[in-house]
């Protein structure tokens, strides 16, 4: 068994707790993020070139917001992008040729001129979910077989501040044997990942998969057995819980997975690591924060915009053509030019829906900030009241809200 470098460039400090919920700071290479936090998913490369901020439709407009481009009238939106999420797999989403792919991966994102002012943390996912089906990156005239080494090479070249091992996500229909095989492959990758990242300057997260205590516990056992008697808590800077996307509409399943993962992390001495939930956002965030999750990523804010849905809270949105923009005082809705575009006065959809996505993201971020504030207040009541007045008012998730209040926050009575 090779020697592994112990992690030392990342710290996660919990400043306050309310039941199982916690508020803290995540510091990676001197950059600090307050948790709980939401990483907006965005594609840094969307098939275009430098002049189009590397293209990508609505993603392109989001990038323009991120860097305060003139195309959106400038403005400072950096505070909403202190942490972003992208994926190795997203590099070829737009069917680019090999030449452009090589160009994209020739330089770290933050070293590229358009993003040179950007100083947020970039979480680069390994793309495991996509590779499970294709085993490779598929461009218009090339294909790259992806293994742990290749996945990490690209994560490294993009300059990810947080990187994860190449994982084999599970699906709800997997048999026991299929899950076990995937766990073993993920565990093997985790060992190679730990070795490859020995000198990596960013944070290294371990992906874990399972829907309940038994599945997750077995997964951790499988990983631990690959590492022998080396304590994995010294090798990773965070845990990323995956495979939940197929269950994104089943709050009960999400809560169970997170609660059980938190329990196992405590039992295994991993409770000091931040817990990231891959691919889950929106209305699940308050409940999963209460259950003990620290960070999230999702594309919901963009997908909703593409479907012409304008967020009014984490849980509610209204059709774009019914919006009264004067009711919102976010920077997007306070800019007449952007409001004009959102009202349909632009040639391209990206200009109409991009600001909507940005608005949606701001709403997301504001609500997560509110959650943070509630956790920092005394006792569990502020957080309970928040849950009760937001998600707890929605019929389909009212019971799940009560469950979290009862199980993670000490209950109402």
């Amino acid at each position: 068994m090779p020697q592994f470098r112990q992690t030392d460039q990342t710290t996660f400090q919990v400043a306050a707790t309310a039941g199982d919920a916690r508020a803290g700071t995540l510091t990676i290479n001197g950059q600090t993020l307050e948790t709980p936090t939401f990483f907006p998913v965005l594609s840094f490369y969307g098939g275009g070139t430098k002049s189009s901020v590397f293209g990508g439709g609505v993603h392109r407009t989001i990038k323009e917001f991120m860097i305060g481009d003139d195309a959106i009238g400038g403005g400072t939106y950096e505070e909403y992008f202190r942490g972003t999420m992208t994926s190795v797999a997203a590099l070829t989403d737009y069917g680019i040729n090999r030449e452009r792919f090589d160009d994209y991966t020739a330089e770290r994102i933050k070293d590229r001129e358009p993003f040179s002012e950007y100083s947020g943390l970039i979480f680069v996912d390994s793309g495991g979910y996509k590779f499970l089906h294709s085993d490779g990156l598929d461009g218009s005239d090339f294909e790259i077989e992806i293994d742990q080494r290749e996945a990490f090479r690209i994560q490294n070249q993009l300059g990810g501040d947080i990187v994860v091992n190449l994982d084999r996500p599970i699906t709800p229909n997997d048999t026991f044997e299929e899950r076990q095989t995937k766990a073993e492959r993920t565990a093997e990758n985790a060992v190679e990942f730990a070795r490859l990242t020995q000198d990596y300057p960013g944070a290294r997260y371990l992906t874990v998969h399972g829907y309940n205590y038994s599945m997750l516990n077995r997964f951790f056992d499988t990983v631990q057995s690959q590492f022998g008697n080396i304590d994995i808590s010294t090798l990773f800077d965070g845990i990323a819980l995956g495979s939940l996307v197929p269950k994104k509409d089943n709050k009960e399943a999400l809560i169970t997975a997170v609660m059980d993962c938190v329990e196992i992390m405590e039992e295994r001495g991993l409770e000091d690591l931040p817990l990231h939930i891959l691919g889950i956002g929106s209305s699940s965030i308050p409940l999963l924060v209460a259950a003990g999750a620290d960070t999230f990523d999702a594309t919901t804010y963009i997908l909703n915009a593409i479907n012409e849905k304008y967020s009014v809270s984490l849980t509610d949105h209204i059709p774009l053509d019914e919006v009264d923009f004067s009711q919102c005082d976010c920077p997007v809705c306070s800019t007449p030019m952007l409001v004009d575009r959102m009202q349909g006065n632009a040639e391209y959809q990206k200009d109409i829906l991009g600001p909507v996505a940005m608005h949606n993201l701001i709403i997301h971020k504001q609500e997560v900030q509110e959650l943070r504030q509630r956790i920092k207040q005394h006792g569990t009541d502020p957080l309970i009241n928040y849950l009760d007045e937001t998600v707890g008012r929605r019929d389909p998730i009212r019971k799940q809200t009560h469950r979290v209040v009862n199980q993670s926050l000490g209950g109402y009575f």
Binding site: R393, K399, H402, R403, V405, N406, Q407, G411
Partner: protein
């Protein structure tokens, strides 16, 4: 020229008094009036006299002034603003009687008011009159005494139908004596209520004494050790005041209640059928009006819950039997708020995990116990010395397998679908045979099943052979049937000829038992 619409006063009095059917409503009105008059004690006496029934209500309140007394007899002229009786309708129930006598002492004056034959006069289209006599009295001499003689309900008031139990339950469910106000207002004055029924009406006790407060059975959070451990469990949910918004502004609902098992619930007074009185009650003046059990989600049985949700902005029908403003946004939002709150209660771990789980586990334990008993009975019934006899189709199949050990042919069961008309597929020396299965062959005919639907009929034995012979004699399903027990087959002639083999397991096993003998040959 502008004109006022006119009111037929007599008709109005008649209509309103007619709304009240239950003589107990007299008591409800009187108790509320007494409480509003600051009374600390009320005595209700009901006597059966030769000329009818007398209902007497005495309280030690501050009495009525001349104006109060006027309001008492007037219609729609209440001096109250926010409590029961503010419509000025309630006391009109007294008009359904032969005589009303009021004695009330207030500020050094005693008023004696008498109204004769009010009901008779109203029915004769005359407005009844009352006469008031004033007398000086000591200033500290206060209180009111109302005597209603010859009260009649719709079918005539029969005081004999009243019992202490009935009165008690009515008091606790429908009057201020069942108020939950004390949970919200710690200064709420306690008022003793004593009911004295004529010995001829109910001689089970001397009197009934209670207060103006509804209290819940004592809390017991832990299960008992007996066979029904959850039955006395009980948890109180503290009073909560919740504000909610609706189209006309903001209102408050005050909710308090309990969850409890059957024994705990039995400690509550009963109104109507005990089993249906639980759930969530809407209340006004902290007195229950009607149930809104739909605010509990469908997966929760209402019977475990007893919650009273008071909202002063509810409007009631004149006899307080129903909520009148159900079409309002207020009512809709109130129900939404209650649903929200009741889900919290229903999701409380004590209810879900401690109480319901205790209940469920005990139920399973009881069921397992009865299973054990029946298993013991079955084991006792088995006597290895007696020959095996199947009692159902599955046992016939087991017996068939058992018979293979030494039988000439091997027959195995390849498939068995109990709910199918032809339930079994057998393999006889490797050939598949579709088969009916019975304990007795006669069942096939008794069940009226066709004879062409399967290759074989598997049975333990034939059953009553004479029954089979009768089918042979009369024919079956319009055809001739020949049951050849010698060769174990049934030949059926209708349009075609069809043969069904009979497999009698009993014979196969008998053959096996006799085999050692044959081998001696």
């Amino acid at each position: 020229m502008k004109q006022h619409p006119e009111v037929n006063e007599v008709q109005e009095f008649l209509e309103i008094a007619s709304d009240f059917e239950d003589p107990l409503e007299i008591i409800r009105e009187s108790l509320s009036n007494a409480y509003d008059a600051g009374a600390t004690e009320v005595l209700i006496t009901i006597r059966n006299t030769a000329s009818g029934s007398d209902i007497i209500i005495e309280d030690d309140g501050h009495g009525m002034s001349r104006d109060d007394l006027k309001s008492f007899f007037d219609l729609g002229n209440s001096r109250k603003t926010d409590s029961i009786g503010h419509k000025g309708h309630g006391t009109k129930i007294f008009y359904k009687s032969d005589r009303i006598v009021v004695d009330t002492a207030h500020d050094g004056t005693n008023y004696h008011a008498v109204m004769d034959r009010p009901w008779e006069k109203l029915n004769n289209k005359t407005l009844p009159e009352y006469e008031v006599t004033e007398m000086e009295t000591r200033p500290d001499n206060t209180g009111t005494r109302i005597q209603i003689s010859g009260f009649r309900s719709g079918e005539g008031f029969d005081p004999a139908s009243l019992t202490y139990d009935k009165v008690h339950h009515y008091l606790k469910w429908k009057t201020i004596a069942g108020s939950t106000a004390h949970y919200f207002d710690s200064d709420q004055r306690e008022m003793d209520v004593v009911v004295d029924l004529d010995q001829e009406i109910d001689d089970s006790r001397d009197e009934l004494a209670t207060t103006n407060q509804l209290t819940f059975p004592s809390e017991q959070l832990e299960p008992d050790t007996g066979e029904f451990p959850a039955t006395r469990m009980c948890k109180h949910y503290p009073p909560r005041e919740i504000e909610f918004e609706h189209d006309s502004g903001t209102s408050t609902v005050e909710i308090v209640g309990m969850i409890g098992g059957k024994e705990a619930r039995n400690e509550l007074p009963t109104y109507g059928r005990h089993s249906v009185q639980f759930g969530v009650w809407l209340a006004k003046d902290h007195i229950k009006v009607e149930q809104v059990n739909e605010v509990l989600t469908h997966d929760n049985e209402f019977i475990h819950f007893f919650f009273i949700a008071n909202c002063q902005d509810l409007e009631l029908s004149a006899n307080r039997g129903k909520v009148r403003n159900k079409a309002s946004s207020l009512y809709k939002e109130l129900k939404r708020e209650l649903k929200h709150y009741m889900t919290k209660i229903a999701e409380d771990p004590w209810f879900k995990e401690d109480y319901l789980e205790t209940r469920k586990r005990a139920q399973l334990r009881r069921r397992a116990q009865s299973q054990t008993t029946s298993l013991e009975d079955r084991l006792d019934a088995i006597n290895p010395a007696e020959p095996f006899t199947p009692t159902n189709r599955t046992e016939v199949l087991l017996a068939l397998e058992r018979s293979n050990t030494h039988a000439d042919t091997e027959i195995t069961v390849e498939e068995y679908k109990a709910d199918h008309e032809v339930p079994a597929i057998l393999l006889e020396d490797g050939d598949p045979r579709t088969s009916h299965v019975y304990v007795e062959l006669t069942t096939h005919f008794e069940n009226d099943y066709p004879l062409g639907s399967a290759d074989t009929i598997l049975c333990w034995d034939y059953g009553d052979i004479d029954v089979l012979r009768e089918y042979e004699r009369h024919g079956y399903h319009g055809g001739d049937v020949e049951i050849d027990l010698q060769d174990d087959r049934i030949v059926y002639h209708h349009k075609d000829r069809h043969t069904v083999d009979i497999i009698t397991v009993c014979d196969r096993i008998a053959a096996q038992e006799h085999q050692p003998l044959t081998s001696l040959d």
